[in-house]
Amino acid sequence: MLLVLSEEHKEHLGFLTQVDSAVVGEFGRIAVEFLRKGTNPKIYEGAARKLNVSSDVIQHGVEGLTYLLTEGSKLMISEIDFQDSVLVLGFSEELNKLLLQLYLDNRKEIRSILGELAPKLPSYHSLEWRLDVQLASRSLRQQIKPAVTIKLHLDQNGDQTTKILQTDPATLLHLIQQLEQALGEMKTNHCRRIVRNIK
């Protein structure tokens, strides 16, 4: 599938033909850095002064490049499709190769950044357990009541939460059985067939 670029977008990217490949490489690096950490307008001003153009032009160039890389990564388009999409810009052979290399080098990382934008539930981080035996309480002496105390660590949006839970031996065995069944599901023919056929 091809990337469809709007006229405005093509215009922004047009600036890249007016600079040499080292600069394009630098813009690519800036684009990925902005994806990782957020934008920093001061960089635009610095580059604008060096290249003797307005900082708007620099910003559009970098944003155009960013969009090219993120859309390509999101859709996971193939090398050939990327090259064909970029052809419409009428760039030089050298520039096309440079853009393709930029795409391939950074695709994996961009995809993992995009993956973090999805809606998420708290996710499992780790689990600690402890074996306890209750010997007595205010209402009953001489007990032998085994229990397993569990500390469940969960991550949500970067925050860690902890839940303290307790269970008895019978329920523990039941839980293990249920969750082992869950694990076994991925190995069934049904799931295997689906995984094989969705590509």
Binding site: Q143, D168, L173
Partner: protein
């Protein structure tokens, strides 16, 4: 087994066949056990015909004394001889002691269960449910293609308030880690029980 003055005096009245005829004693004894063990026994049958001629204040005193005695015996897991000694000190005759001990023996297990369940503890895990999904795409990222599990742990507590379940997502590796750790706990439980 130590009983307070109030309880001892109540028991002494209960032991007196002048105040409590044998049938009245039987009814009060059974009522005392029922009021402790039966969750629905709100309106305790202290208005049984056999008990009608006894002063209500006295009835309540003796009922409370009997119930306290039963609870203390349960709390300390008292054996027959401890209970007998205690009742003897309150002037119970052989027959009434026997009756008490028989009734106690019948209800001992339920009593211990109830006493054992009183108390605070962390949220208690009762069950786990799970869902396996295969992720295909998000609006920000297409072709993600990976399996994921959504696990919900059902919890409850003594206070019968409903607690929100603990839900979380995990990958296959994380679920394997979770199950592995639970199995370690189970193995160590088994070893501890054989000591």
């Amino acid at each position: 087994m130590e009983l307070s003055e109030y309880v001892q005096s109540g028991l002494q009245i209960l032991a007196d066949s002048g105040c409590f005829s044998p049938s009245a004693y039987t009814v009060l004894l059974q009522t005392a056990f029922q009021s402790l063990l039966n969750a629905q026994a709100d309106q305790v049958a202290l208005d049984h015909p056999v008990l009608k001629h006894i002063d209500p204040t006295v009835l309540k005193h003796c009922h409370a004394a009997a119930a306290t005695c039963i609870l203390e015996a349960g709390k300390h897991k008292a054996d027959k001889s401890a209970i007998s000694t205690c009742l003897e000190d309150c002037k119970f005759d052989r027959e009434r002691i026997e009756q008490f001990c028989t009734e106690y023996q019948k209800n001992k297990d339920t009593l211990e269960l109830i006493l054992g369940s009183i108390g605070r503890c962390p949220l208690h895990l009762t069950d786990a449910s799970w869902r396996l999904e295969y992720q295909i795409k998000t609006n920000q990222l297409h072709k993600t293609y990976r399996p994921a599990y959504l696990v919900t742990l059902n919890v409850e507590n003594n206070d019968s308030r409903s607690h929100p379940d603990v839900s979380f997502s995990c990958t296959m590796e994380q679920l394997q880690d979770l199950v592995g750790k639970l199995k370690d706990a189970a193995k160590s439980l088994e070893r501890a029980s054989q000591m």
